[in-house]
Each structure stands twice: as C-alpha cells, then as structure tokens.
C-alpha cells in the first residue's frame, strides 16, 4: 500500500492504495464518487472518462498512483456552482442525449474535452471524437445533437441535413 494525494473536483483527497489500484477504482471506492462508471476491461467503452490536469483520460487505464498531485475532475464536478446543470449537461437533457445514463458521465466528460479544444466542431468531428465512447441506448443521434447545441450551433438545421 502506498499513499496517494490528489485534488478531485477542487478538493484535496488522499488514500492508501495498492500499486495495481486503478484511478477509477480509487474514485468509485474510497472516494465514493460513483458517477464515473466501468463498462469494460479493455479501455474501449469510455464510461470511465474523467479529466486529469485538464485532459480527458480513461480512468480505467491509469493507476491511482499515477495521478499523484494531479487535478482530477469527474462528472460530480461538472454542475454550476449553484448546483444547476452545466451547459453540456443541460444540452444532454434538452436533446434527450441519454437513456439509461450509464455511458453518460463519460460522454459528458469527453464532450467537455472536445469543446475545450474545438469550440465549434462539425458533426463529423464530434462523431470522430466520440470514437472511444460507446453508447448502446441512443444510437448517438441525440448525443451528437446535444454536443452541437452545447457548442451554440443550430441543431435543427444540421440534424435535418
């Protein structure tokens, strides 16, 4: 067991973990942040995406110890200060971009990372960026719409194309 210290959603946290403990298991277990999900064991589904030092990372593909000293942001840290939904979250609700909600935290975290780098992505860019996030419920239609809307683009015009 080794001690690891990091900042999660702005709060300093620390805990004792094994060398093999994954970041996602540290978040879900000791920290109780169960919004980050585990959908696979081959790092392909993206249900576990969080931000580590501002970058989108699959938390199942990183050891907790590797996040020593890092700033981590999870779905629990995405709402506005007053607790209302953030822009991307609100767009997902408005455009029905989720059904069972299991892929959703990862989708929102990936979308946030995309929009940070590319504030007005095209439909094709969004679809390509989501290559590492699998959703089994929505057929992606409304997820793509939600991300277009969150970036301030005219959704009906693009989706009608």
């Amino acid at each position: 067991m080794s001690n690891v210290t990091m900042k999660v959603n702005g709060k300093p946290v620390s805990g004792d973990v094994e060398g093999r403990t994954l970041l996602v298991d540290f978040l879900r277990g000791p920290l109780g942040l169960t919004g980050t999900h585990v959908g696979c064991d081959t790092s392909q589904c993206g249900a576990c995406v969080v931000h580590v030092n501002g970058e989108a990372v699959k938390a199942c593909a990183m050891f907790a110890l590797e996040a020593e000293g890092a700033e981590v942001r999870t779905i629990e840290g995405m709402a506005e200060a007053d607790g209302s939904l953030g822009t991307i979250q609100a767009a997902f609700q408005e455009h029905h971009g989720l059904q069972c909600g299991f892929c959703t935290p990862g989708m929102v975290m990936s979308a946030a990372a995309l929009l940070k780098d590319n504030p007005k992505p095209s439909e094709a860019e969004i679809r390509e960026y989501l290559e590492g996030n699998i959703c089994r419920c929505t057929g992606y239609h409304n997820i793509v719409k939600a991300i277009l809307a969150a970036s301030g683009q005219d959704v009906p015009a693009i989706a009608a194309e």
Binding site: E18, T42, C45, A47, A79, Q89, V108, R136, Y140, I143
Partner: protein, 787 residues
C-alpha cells in the same frame, strides 16, 4: 402547436438530472457494510467432464472466506426455465438441469465452476487463480445441424441435442406443401440470423445480503424484472419464501433483453450471503459478460415464398434451426416459437403459412431474447425473401409489398394472431416522403461520380408487443402471467406516488408515466412520483421487456387511476352535496355539472385522510388503489423503413448514408422519448446488419469476446436518422391506445440495410448477388463482388 405538458408532450426527463450529475444509483454503486467479494472461476473449455476442483491452495490464501463449488448446490434447485414448448407430436421439450455451479460436466466456455469469496475483490481474484478444476476435455458440438445428426451430447442424461421440433400451424403443413408445389413462382432463400451479444453498457452486478434478525434475504441486481427474479429464484432455486426475499433492481444501465433472465450469479450471492452471514458482491467484468450474459438470435433458416403470376403471395414455408446454447435460459424456448412463428404473416395477406423450428443444444453460451426477440428473425427472412422474389419476377419491391398488404382490420392471420389496427399503405407513403425516395437517382449519380456504388433498400415490419393474455400464453407454455400492476397512492396533500411493476432501464418511465396521470386528473406532472424496481414497495409485476411498459404497465396505472378518480368523485359529491354522477373532474378540480360549485383536487385528497365531512357509512377513508391489467391481445406496431448505403467497390466497406423510419405506434405519450427509442433500435439493427457477430472457433472458444473483437457501433459508424410516427392507428383494446415502441428500430432495420447493399451490388452489375449473410463486413461484401 405541440403540447407542452401531459399526453403528447416532449417533457424533458426528470431522471436525467441524477444521471447527468453522477448521482445515479446503479447496482455496483451499492456497498453494504462488511460486504465480501465473489470471483467466479469459469470453464475455459467448451465441453468436458469435470472430475473435481482442487481448492486447497486457494482456500489458504489471504482473505479467503470460503470457496464454493457445484457440490455446495446439489441440495438446491437448478436455474429454471420459464417457458415449456410442446413439439409437433405433442411432446414437451427436453429440459436439462441447469445447475448454479457446474457439476460433473462443463458445457460452455464461461460455465461457472467455483466461486471464491474473500474480504477484498483483489484477494478473491488472486485466490481464484489458484483454484484448479480437473477437466477431461470432450469434443464440443457447435454446429446446430451436426448437433442433431449424432454430434456429441451436451446433456448426456436427456439423450439428444434436439430440445424440440416445433411445427406451426401443424394442421396447415400439407396445404402449404401442396400450394408451394403447384405455385407459378417460388422464391427460396437460405440465411443466417447472426448471433449477437446485447452488451448493455452496464455489466451485470449482483449483491446478496442477509439479515439475521428476521432471517430475510435481499438481492440487489441489474434486472429488468425484479419480481420475476424473486419468484424464480425464491421458489425454484433457493427455496426462500417471497415474504423473506426482497429483490431490488435500482438504476439499471440498459437491458435489451439480456437482463430479463434469472442468472446463476444472482442465486449464488443470495445463497452465499446467508451461508456467510454477510453481504456478498459480484460485479461482472466485460470479458465475463461476453461469456455469461445470454446471447441473442442465432438462427439458420430456409424460407420459401410461393407467388401466383400476378405476384400475390400464396404460401410461405420456413425451416429454422435455433440455437439454445448449452442450457435453457429463462425465456429461450419461446423466442423462436411463439415470438417468431406468430409474426410470419408480417404485413401481408399470405393465406397459408407453415413454420418449423428445431431448437438445438450446443456447447455455447445460452441464447435468449435480445431486443425484438424472434420478431427481428421473422421480419428479416420475410422481408429479404420478398425483395428477392421481386427481383426474380422483375417487379418493383414496394409494389409487390403493397399488392399483398393487409388492408382490413381486425385481421386474423393464418399464424394464430389477430391484428387489431394498422395502415400499411400510410406508413409506406410516409416513408417514401421522409426518405426522399424521389431524390435517390440524383444521389446515385453523385455516388457514381465519386467512384462509389449506391443502393436503396426498404422493408416493412410488424411487431407484436405486450404479449398476452395470460390464460392464452399459459396454454402456449408460459410459466408466468403476463399482466402488469400499479398501485396509485394519493397523499393527503394531493401528490401521487405510483408504484409500478414495470421497470425502467433507460425508457424514461419516471417522466412519461406522470404525463399520463397528470393528464387524467389535470394536475402538474411534478405532483406524480414513480416508484419501480423494488419488490418491497411495488405490487407483483412482470417488469419491462417486449415493448410492454406503456401498453401493459401504463394501462394498469390508468385503471388504478380511474378507480382513484371514481372514489374521489364520491367524496366530492358528498362535500358538494350533489350526486356523484353529476361530478366532473377537469383541470384538477371537481365541479357539479351545470353549476359553479367546485372543489379542488387537493381538498378532496385531504378529506380522504381527514374524513370529518365524509360519507363514512358508505366509503372507506383513504385514497389508494391497485390495478392488475391483463391485456386482451397483443398490440401490433408496424412501419416501413428505408436505408441508403454506399459501397466502396475497392474494399467492400458499406457506409450508411441515409436512414428513415416511418412507424405506427398508435397514440404517443412522449414523442421525444419515442424518437430516442427508435434511434437506439436502429443503431442496434445496423450493428447487427453490418458489424456485430458473436463468433466461435472449432474448439468452442468465443473469439469475439471483447470490444476489440466484437464490433459495437460507434458514433462515426452511424448517420442522423429521419424518424416519423405521425401515422397513428391507435390500439383498440388498451385504454391509452398505445402500441409500444422499444424494439421497432431493431426489428425494422436489418432487412433494409441488407436490401440496400444487395441493391447497390445489383445496380453495379453483380447480378448473381442475391443475398449476403450478416454482418455485412467489408470482407463478405468484397467476396460477394468477386463472383
């Protein structure tokens, strides 16, 4: 103007807020004080004699509490099957024992052999590696035809791999044979409906808990139907009476059928928690899900369609081998029979139909219902053979369909069901419009200029949802009722809680169900709360599958609410000193007809619980009602789908360029949610048609056992879809006039994709290509183009 509340409004989903902020409560999010962790040791061979399991070294490892093997489960029941099919000769199907943990033999890769329970997950996993099963490998049987022609026996004790040989309608067989023999034209098609893995994004999880103070067990599980699990596991496996057993299915991350069934892991954690007197948790890895979740489809079919010279359908005959896998999963026997044979008429007036199905045991993971369950298999073969017939006879495939459409309702098919309503020309007309079929030639020219082949495929579908009524399905072999329940509890201050037997795992019941009640009473949707998924606080229900929630569960809720309203009117009549026949409820207030005397909804609710001015001699206080609704018939959604593809002639890669769906779901409660259901179904159907396929090698190893090998559709594989449900012929026998929309997309889309690819190849001169088996991978399409 679209409505902004009540029935017909696209109310935004209230459950989204918790899912979008990480506050969902899925089964794996549940941790019980002092819980131990289970890790399953599974067979890595497809077939073998299990001589024993050496657990000595593992048992001595740190943290290990106990190791369970098949011997521990000899005294309990096997995993039961919920449907007994009777074969052509009137004999019941062969039903082998399905032990919780393998005993004597292992029958598929993934068959559970032993379970290590330890203090931590890591300790359980480490110790599991030290468990040594002693297995003498046997030759596996994987091919269905080989299995029934003297292949190795999966279950020695039943003496055959043929579970049943079913004929439907048996009395029609001779007439069908004769009609096909004498027909002007017969089109024959042999095809495979590929084996799929449902892959809800949340892997299965089960947490067993045991309370010593009252000797009661609780199971938290990723299930679509907690009451059914409680009944099957309590009564047939563990012998726990239902009043000592609670099953909770909290937020569930998608189901698609594979979370209907009762699984060994659920029985295991419940059993082990009681043995160890502490909670036991099991969470599947995705790799484990691939080899332990029931798979779907896997039919091999030959279909023959007989036509007269004018293109009228005369008779249809189909022969199907349906894979059951190594054991009978909960509803497996019903899928290729009653959920498949009864749908073979499709949208057409075919007077004579005969369906033969041979269900076969093989050394593979059990196969059961997956989104659509039997209906996609029926639709695929029918809509493919019609396309092929049109080509052979040189007629337009849409015209051929139109010529044979059923146009008068109710319509009794030759396969024992009666369609109540539908308008197949209307959905076809709507499809041609929304798919812009008129613009196809221009798009074709553009594709050609880009060096691509382009094709257009269309098809119709009919679905049967809300399988019912219970007395009929009982005769067909169901060992369950197929009603649904709801308790509506009105609180003293006017808010309502609906406890429904339906279960939401993405369908949005918490939003759509209140829309119905709010409309009936005339109150705000936010005054209604939905409770589901917990046997402790909901009436006995059958759960959610087969697109039944609104048609059956919603109807139960309507019936219970009608009782509430009737009683509330009596209370209002007493207070307003009028006769209850004169009381009207509108916009949340009760008025005496023709007067301005009125009473608010909340005042009546309060009176029900503070019955001071109340007809106590005639009426009990309180305002709470329960209804069980058992439908008179199935509902029959229908529709027409169109797909346009481009094919790269160099590589065989298919891309979906356009996809349109015109559905008739009857009345619609929440159009936004309905659109979403169709989108998701289409994506799964396109996945089946182009990408997905569970594949076994000769040794019985699942070679598509992870997301690296099993191709899940991703965002960049799919286009935006054009969906429409403005054609509405309401169901005539349920109070909401709704039909169900959950599976349509997955049923309707595979044939249009394959029809489109065949069309593209035909247009490019590959006239010998009449069919390609799914999934239409680049390799298969390329090979088809080579001749």
């Amino acid at each position: 103007m679209p409505k902004d509340h009540g029935i017909g409004a696209s109310t935004k989903r209230r459950e989204d807020v918790r899912f979008l902020t990480g506050k969902g409560r899925y089964t794996d999010d549940i941790n019980i004080n002092g819980q131990a962790y289970a890790w399953f040791v599974r067979s890595d061979v497809a077939h073998g004699t299990l001589n024993g399991v050496d657990t000595a070294d593992a048992a001595a490892m740190p943290g290990v509490l106990r190791i369970f093997t098949g011997a521990d489960f000899e005294a309990v029941g096997g995993i039961p099957c919920g449907w007994q099919v009777t074969d052509r000769k009137g004999e019941v199907m062969l039903e082998p024992r399905h032990p919780v943990l393998a005993h004597g033999k292992v029958r598929h890769v993934g068959d559970p052999i032993a379970v290590v329970v330890a203090e931590t997950l890591e300790q359980a996993r480490d110790a599991a590696e030290a468990v040594v099963p002693d297995i003498t490998e046997l030759e596996p049987v994987l091919d269905m035809k080989a299995a029934v022609q003297g292949g190795p026996l999966v279950h020695d004790e039943i003496g055959s791999n043929l579970c049943y040989d079913w004929g439907f309608v048996e009395e029609n067989k001779e007439a069908v044979d004769a009609a096909i023999k004498g027909a002007h034209h017969v089109t024959t098609l042999e095809l495979v409906n590929n084996r799929l893995i449902a892959n809800p994004m949340e892997p299965r999880v089960a947490v067993g808990d045991y309370a010593q103070h009252d000797d009661s067990s609780t199971l938290y599980t990723t299930s679509q139907n907690p009451h059914v699990i409680r009944l099957l596991m309590g009564a047939f496996v563990l012998g726990i009476p239902e009043h000592k057993l609670r099953v909770v299915a909290p937020d569930v991350g998608g189901g698609f059928g594979t979370k209907i069934f009762h699984y060994a892991e659920e029985a295991f954690v419940t059993f082990a928690a009681k043995e160890l007197k502490r909670a036991v948790k099991w969470t599947a890895t995705r790799s484990e899900a691939f080899i332990s979740d029931a798979h779907g489809r896997d039919h091999v079919t030959k279909i023959e369609l007989a036509l007269d010279a004018d293109g009228h359908f005369l008779a249809l005959r189909t022969d199907t081998y349906a894979n059951m896998g190594a054991y009978l999963s909960t509803f497996a026997p019903s899928v290729p029979t009653w959920l498949h044979g009864t749908l073979m008429a499709g949208n057409y007036k075919t007077p004579l139909i005969y369906v033969n199905v041979k269900a076969v045991f093989t050394n593979t993971v059990p196969v059961d219902a997956y989104r659509g369950a039997g209906r996609p298999e029926a639709t695929f073969q029918l809509e493919r053979v019609i396309d092929k017939a049109a080509r052979e006879m040189g007629v337009d495939p849409i015209e051929l369909r139109r010529k044979n459409f059923i146009t008068e309702f109710p319509y009794a098919t030759p396969v024992a069901v009666e369609y109540d309503t539908g308008d197949y020309h209307a959905t076809m007309d709507k499809l041609l419009e929304i798919a812009d079929v008129a613009g196809f030639d221009a798009r074709l020219a553009k594709s050609k200029a880009n060096g691509k082949l382009r094709g257009l495929g269309m098809n119709c579908y009919i679905e049967a949802c809300g399988i019912a009524p219970s007395n009929l399905v009982g005769q067909l072999g169901a060992r369950a009722g197929l009603y649904e329940s709801a308790t509506v509890r009105v609180n003293a201050t006017g808010g309502l809680v609906v406890m429904t037997g339906s279960h939401s795992h993405g369908q949005g019941h918490e939003t759509s169900f209140p829309q119905v009640i709010a409309e009936m009473i005339g109150i705000d949707e936010n005054m209604v709360e939905i409770v589901h998924g917990d046997t402790a606080n909901t009436p006995m229900g059958m759960g959610t599958y087969g697109s039944r929630s609104l048609a059956v569960g919603g109807s139960a809720m309507v019936r219970a609410t009608e009782k509430i309203i009737a009683k509330a009117k009596k209370i209002a009549a007493h207070i307003l000193e009028a006769s209850d026949a004169d009381i009207e409820l509108k916009d949340g207030s009760f008025t005496v007809a023709g007067t301005d005397k009125s009473l608010a909804w909340g005042d009546v609710c309060l009176a029900a619980y503070v019955p001071h001015n109340y007809p106590l001699a005639d009426l009990e206080p309180g305002l709470e009602e329960t209804a069980f609704y058992d439908p008179a018939n199935f509902t029959y959604p229908s529709g027409a789908y169109a797909c346009e593809v481009e094919v790269d002639p160099e590589t065989g890669k298919v891309t979906i360029e356009r996809f349109a769906a015109a559905d008739d779901f009857g009345n619609i409660v929440n159009p936004m949610i309905v659109d979403g259901q169709v989108h998701g179904g289409i994506a799964q159907g396109i996945g089946q048609a182009l990408m997905e396929g569970a594949s076994y090698d000769e040794a019985g190893q699942l070679v598509s056992g992870s997301y690296m090998d099993y191709t899940m559709p991703r965002a960049d594989d799919l286009p935006f879809y054009t969906v429409d449900h403005s054609c509405q012929t309401p169901c005539t026998h349920n109070p909401l006039g709704v039909k169900g929309c959950g599976e349509a997309g997955a049923i309707g889309s595979p044939p249009s994709v394959v029809n489109a690819v065949v069309d593209a190849l035909q247009r490019a001169g590959h006239t010998n290509v009449t069919h390609i088996d799914m999934p239409l991978s680049p390799a298969r399409v390329w090979a088809a183009m080579q001749g």
